[in-house]
């Protein structure tokens, strides 16, 4: 598993939304997905990201810089796709439209950092912490 550091720049609203999606997916996974090594790896990665997001919130800044390991960004990407799938099957409502809109925005942000990482000539270099 590669640990290349990626950076996500988030405004307050985006950070709140990402933390909320992490919490929602963890709840969904613990309630409904059978335990497996893969599920548990994603759970731990998402839990760590959620914890860091909540810690950033304490600083009360207008913009946050969230450092992600590659596997965390990959886990977030999978989570967002899974939540889009769940909301996609829900009956049409204002809440559904809002949720899918937020998820699309987060998906684009994460795919962008994953894409940028793949474009870097030194992609794959390991960093500590």
């Amino acid at each position: 598993m590669m640990n290349t550091a990626l950076v996500l720049h988030l405004n307050v609203q985006q950070a709140e939304q990402l933390a909320a999606q992490c919490a929602a997916w963890r709840k969904y996974a613990l309630q409904g997905l059978p335990a497996s090594l893969e599920r548990n790896q994603i759970l731990r990665a998402v839990q760590a990201v959620e914890g860091r997001l909540l810690s950033l919130r304490k600083r009360q800044a207008t913009e946050y810089t969230l450092s992600l390991h590659y596997d965390e960004a990959h886990a977030l990407h999978q989570v967002i796709l899974a939540l889009m799938h769940v909301w996609g099957k829900a009956p049409n409502s204002e809440e559904r439209i809002q949720a899918i809109g937020n998820l699309v925005m987060l998906r684009v942000m994460i795919e962008r950092v994953l894409y940028l990482r793949d474009q870097k000539p030194d992609a794959g270099n390991k960093v500590s912490g």
Binding site: A19, C22, A23, R26, K27, L30, Q31, P34, A35, R39, N40, L43, R44, Q47, E50, G51, R52, L53, L54, S55, K58
Partner: protein
């Protein structure tokens, strides 16, 4: 923090066998079929405290780890410095958390130190000590960044839960997390033997407060309170986690047998038949037990 480093260097905790300890013997139960188990006297704890229970608690720890995916459910940040576990048992959770957070100090407390791992088996940043949440935790206000309590439903009388939650909150620092993980007394898709076991256990353990932990946490002043309901399969049908949880729950039922028989609620043969039938039911009906993980955060200053 210094006081805890000092305590860590003090070496092996003194294992005491106080007046609360007793052994329910075959004679006192009047049933030769019952194995000798060690119980605590003058406490509300209903399960045994002996080597067999030690093995069960360690196995349970790993079953829960596979089922929940981590040692905790709260979204802890990177700044965890001081962790408390209430009802540490063997100290396995505290020990593994100390390895997971090497920058933190982890303290486990339990009313009975007899099952504690030897200090040589613990990481340097882990300390186990005697303490009782029902009589007040031996710590000042607001010092822990994470306070964790798990599976004490058989140790805490229903009416004392609000006070216990307040005590956990009291020792947690502003911005710190409190987490309680408990098992619900009801089983999903039960058969007749499982229902009978539920009725029997309800005589001794009131599991109702477990469903109101979120309210208690809010009343104690926590915010961002979340409850996660975690169904875990019971039996081979549920794969590795299901097999482990079935084995753990049957073992817990075995541990519960002594107190049920001693109080005249059931005879040993009937109890054994009930647990055997229950194990079969779980496979046939694809039963599941339900855990609740409830966590909340102290408001930041």
């Amino acid at each position: 923090m210094g006081i805890f480093r000092w305590l860590l260097r003090r070496g092996k905790p003194k294992v005491t066998h106080g007046p609360w300890e007793r052994t329910i013997t075959t004679a006192s139960m009047g049933q030769e079929a019952l194995a000798m188990r060690r119980y605590l006297e003058d406490t509300d704890y209903l399960l045994p405290k002996d080597a067999e229970e030690d093995a069960r608690l360690n196995f349970q720890h790993y079953a829960l780890l596979h089922a929940i995916g981590n040692h905790y459910v709260a979204p802890l940040g990177p700044s965890v410095r001081l962790v408390l576990e209430v009802g540490a048992g063997t100290g396995i959770w505290a020990s593994e958390m100390a390895r997971l957070f090497p920058q933190a100090e982890v303290i486990g407390i339990d009313i009975d130190p007899a099952l504690f791992r030897a200090p040589a088996q613990l990481p340097e940043n882990c300390l186990l000590r005697t303490g009782n949440v029902l009589t007040g935790l031996p710590f000042p206000d607001g010092i822990f960044s994470f306070t964790h309590q798990r599976l004490l439903v058989a140790a805490i009388p229903a009416g004392k839960w609000p006070g216990v939650v307040r005590e956990l909150v009291r020792v947690t620092q502003p911005g710190g997390w409190v987490e309680i993980v408990e098992i619900d007394s009801e089983i999903e898709r039960p058969g007749p033997a499982t229902v009978k076991m539920h009725e029997l256990s309800a005589v001794l353990v009131d599991g109702e407060p477990i469903r109101h932990l979120d309210r208690m946490m809010r009343q104690a002043g926590l915010q961002d309170v979340e409850t996660t309901r975690i169904p875990i399969p019971l039996g081979e049908w549920g794969g590795r986690v299901g097999s482990m949880m079935k084995r753990d729950l049957l073992s817990a039922c075995d541990a519960f047998k002594g107190i049920c028989v001693q109080r005249g609620l059931i005879n040993p043969q009937e109890y054994d038949q009930m647990t055997s039938d229950m194990a079969n039911e779980w496979e046939q009906l694809q039963s599941a037990c339900v855990f609740y993980a409830v966590y909340g955060r102290q408001p930041a200053e």
